[in-house]
C-alpha cells in the first residue's frame, strides 16, 4: 500500500486508519528519536579495528555499517546509552556531554 502521510497533520479524524494501524513497514526510520540523548558517543576511526562489537551491542541499531565495516554512528537514533563505548575493546568510542557538543556545533555553524 502506498502510505502517503505528507499532509497527515491536517487529516480529518475520519481519515486515519482505525486503531492507529500503520499499513507500512520500516516506518520507525521516519520517527527520529536521537533527540532524547544526553551523552554522545564519539568514534575514533584511527583506533577502531572493525571488530563490530559495538554494532552487536548497540540496543538501537545506531552503529552504521557498510560492506561489513563500521562507518559511524547514527545520531538520528542513538540514545547515548554508552554501551558501545563500554564494550569497545580498543577505546575507540568515548562519551561526551551532548549539550556541550551541541553548543559547540551551533557555535561552529554560526561561524561558518
Amino acid at each position: 500500500m502506498n502510505w502517503d502521510i505528507k499532509d497527515i497533520k491536517d487529516w480529518d479524524w475520519r481519515k486515519h486508519p482505525r486503531g492507529g494501524l500503520i499499513r507500512d513497514a520500516g516506518n520507525a526510520k521516519k520517527f527520529k528519536t536521537g533527540g532524547w540523548r544526553s551523552a554522545r558517543p564519539l568514534w575514533d576511526e584511527e583506533k577502531c579495528v572493525q571488530c563490530l562489537i559495538c554494532h552487536i551491542f548497540c540496543p538501537d541499531c545506531s552503529i552504521k555499517t557498510k560492506d561489513e565495516k563500521m562507518t559511524g554512528i547514527d545520531y538520528d537514533f542513538c540514545k547515548g546509552c554508552g554501551i558501545c563505548a563500554y564494550e569497545c575493546p580498543h577505546d575507540a568510542i568515548t562519551m561526551i556531554d551532548e549539550a556541550e557538543a551541541r553548543k559547540k556545533e551551533e557555535a561552529e555553524e554560526g561561524r561558518a
Partner: protein
C-alpha cells in the same frame, strides 16, 4: 461438569455457562485464551473439554491470569484470528488496562462476563459492579435475562464485533449463579444455522498478512493523533446501534428469536414504567404482568444493550410517561447520584420537554435476592409517585436491611 452435547439438537436443559460454551462451540473461534474464575469457570472448563474432545478447531491457551488472557487475546486478534475469552469480577478487574487496548486497537474480541460482585468484602455472587465499572472501556455490552439470551447474545456478539463499520470488542453479560449455575430450558439453533449466521471472519488488516506489512500498537508520539482515534471509537460505538438492531433482526429470522436494544411490556398504555436489566427482568416482568391484570397502568423495559446506551430510543419509548423507576444492580458511589443505569437514563431524558419523574432502586448487591415482594414494593411506590407527582427520595436501596 462437562455435558455431552452430542445428542442435543433443539430444546435443551443447560446451566447458563454450558449454554455459552455451546455458542462458543458453534462459533469455533481460532483462539480462546482464558483463566478460570468463579462463576465463569464452568464456561472455559466445558469449552476446554470440547477442545480436548476435538469438537472444535480452537487453539486453547491456558494462561496464568486474566491479564495474560486478554493480552493473548489481543495478540491473536491482531494476528487475524477470531478470538474469544471469558471472565468474571476480579478477573475482569485484572484485565482492566487490556480492555482499553482491545477497544483502542479495534479488535473484535468477544468475551462473556459472568456478573459477580467485586471485593471487598469477598463475595462471589451476582451484581453488575464488575461490568458496569468497565462501561467506559469502549466495549459493547449486551445483558442477558436467562441462559437462552446468554447463548443468543454470544452468537450475535461475534457478528456485531466483526462488522466492518464497528470492529469493537463485545462483552456478553450474564448474572452469576442466577443464570450461570441454574439449569434453564433453552433452544439451540442447529450447528449449520449457527455457523452460517456467524459466518467466516475475514479481517481487512491482520499481522500475519505477508503481502501487507502492518504495525499494530505503535507509539502515538507527543504530537500524534490519539484524539482522532478516540473520536473514531466513539463513532464506531454510535454506528453499532443500527448494527446491533440489524443483527438482532437477522438472528430472529434464523432462530425465531429477534432481538432489539431493549424489550418492553405494556408501554402503549402504561403511565409508569420499571426498567431492569439482567435476570431481574424476569421477576420484574412477572410482577408487572400481574399488576397489569389487576388493571394498574404499569409497564416495563428490559434493557439489553447498555453500551452503546440507547438514549434516543429510550427517551422516545418513555415520552409522555408520568414516572419511571430504574433498577440498578450496582452503585456508582458518586454520592447520591444513584446507579449507572439511572444516571445514564436521567441524562438521556434531559432534553425531553416532558420528562417523566425518575426514581432509582439499587438492589441485589453481592447477590442479595430480589423477591417479587420487593418488586411489588418498588412498583407501588412508583404508582404513588405517578399519582402525587412527587419523588420523595430519588435514590433508594431495595432489600437493604434498614
Amino acid at each position: 461438569m462437562a455435558v455431552n452435547f452430542k445428542d442435543i439438537n433443539k430444546t435443551v436443559a443447560l446451566v447458563g455457562t454450558d449454554a455459552v460454551a455451546e455458542a462458543m462451540r458453534q462459533i469455533d473461534p481460532d483462539v480462546v485464551a482464558a483463566y478460570p474464575i468463579t462463576p465463569q469457570t464452568a464456561i472455559v472448563e466445558t469449552f476446554a473439554q470440547m477442545v480436548a474432545d476435538g469438537k472444535v478447531n480452537t487453539n486453547y491457551v491456558p494462561v496464568e491470569s486474566e491479564h495474560s488472557a486478554m493480552s493473548a487475546a489481543i495478540g491473536a486478534s491482531s494476528a487475524g484470528a477470531r478470538v474469544m475469552t471469558a471472565t468474571a469480577s476480579q478477573g475482569l478487574a485484572l484485565m482492566w488496562e487490556l480492555l482499553y487496548i482491545a477497544s483502542g486497537l479495534r479488535l473484535p474480541i468477544v468475551m462473556p462476563n459472568v456478573n459477580r460482585a467485586l471485593s471487598a468484602p469477598i463475595n462471589i455472587h451476582c451484581d453488575h459492579g464488575d461490568s458496569m465499572g468497565a462501561r467506559d472501556t469502549g466495549w459493547i455490552q449486551l445483558f442477558s435475562e436467562n441462559a437462552q439470551e446468554a447463548y443468543d447474545n454470544t452468537l450475535q456478539a461475534m457478528r456485531i464485533a466483526e462488522h466492518k463499520d464497528i470492529l469493537l470488542p463485545v462483552m456478553v453479560l450474564l448474572d452469576g449463579f442466577i443464570i450461570s449455575h441454574a439449569i434453564d430450558r433453552l433452544d439451540l439453533v442447529d450447528d449449520d444455522v449457527a455457523k452460517k449466521f456467524v459466518g467466516q471472519y475475514k479481517p481487512e488488516d491482520y499481522m500475519l498478512n505477508a503481502s501487507q506489512p502492518l504495525c499494530v500498537g505503535a507509539f502515538d508520539g507527543l504530537y500524534g493523533y490519539f484524539f482522532e482515534f478516540k473520536r473514531q471509537q466513539e463513532e464506531a460505538m454510535r454506528n453499532s446501534v443500527k448494527v446491533i438492531q440489524d443483527v438482532g433482526k437477522e438472528y430472529g429470522a434464523v432462530s425465531g428469536r429477534p432481538y432489539d436494544l431493549f424489550e418492553s411490556v405494556g408501554l402503549e398504555d402504561a403511565e409508569y414504567v420499571l426498567i431492569a436489566l439482567g435476570s431481574a427482568a424476569g421477576t420484574v416482568r412477572s410482577e408487572v404482568e400481574c399488576l397489569r391484570e389487576q388493571g394498574l397502568p404499569i409497564g416495563m423495559i428490559k434493557l439489553r444493550v447498555f453500551r452503546p446506551f440507547p438514549a434516543k430510543e429510550l427517551a422516545a419509548a418513555l415520552a409522555g410517561k408520568k414516572a419511571v423507576a430504574v433498577m440498578d444492580r450496582s452503585d456508582t458511589f458518586a454520592g447520591g447520584m444513584g446507579g449507572p443505569v439511572f444516571i445514564e437514563l436521567r441524562s438521556a431524558l434531559y432534553e425531553e420537554e416532558k420528562r417523566p419523574l425518575l426514581v432509582n432502586y439499587v438492589y441485589g448487591l453481592g447477590g442479595r435476592d430480589l423477591p417479587v415482594q420487593l418488586v411489588n414494593q418498588a412498583a407501588t411506590e412508583l404508582g404513588e409517585i405517578a399519582k402525587s407527582g412527587q419523588v420523595k427520595q430519588m435514590v433508594n436501596y431495595l432489600g437493604l436491611k434498614e
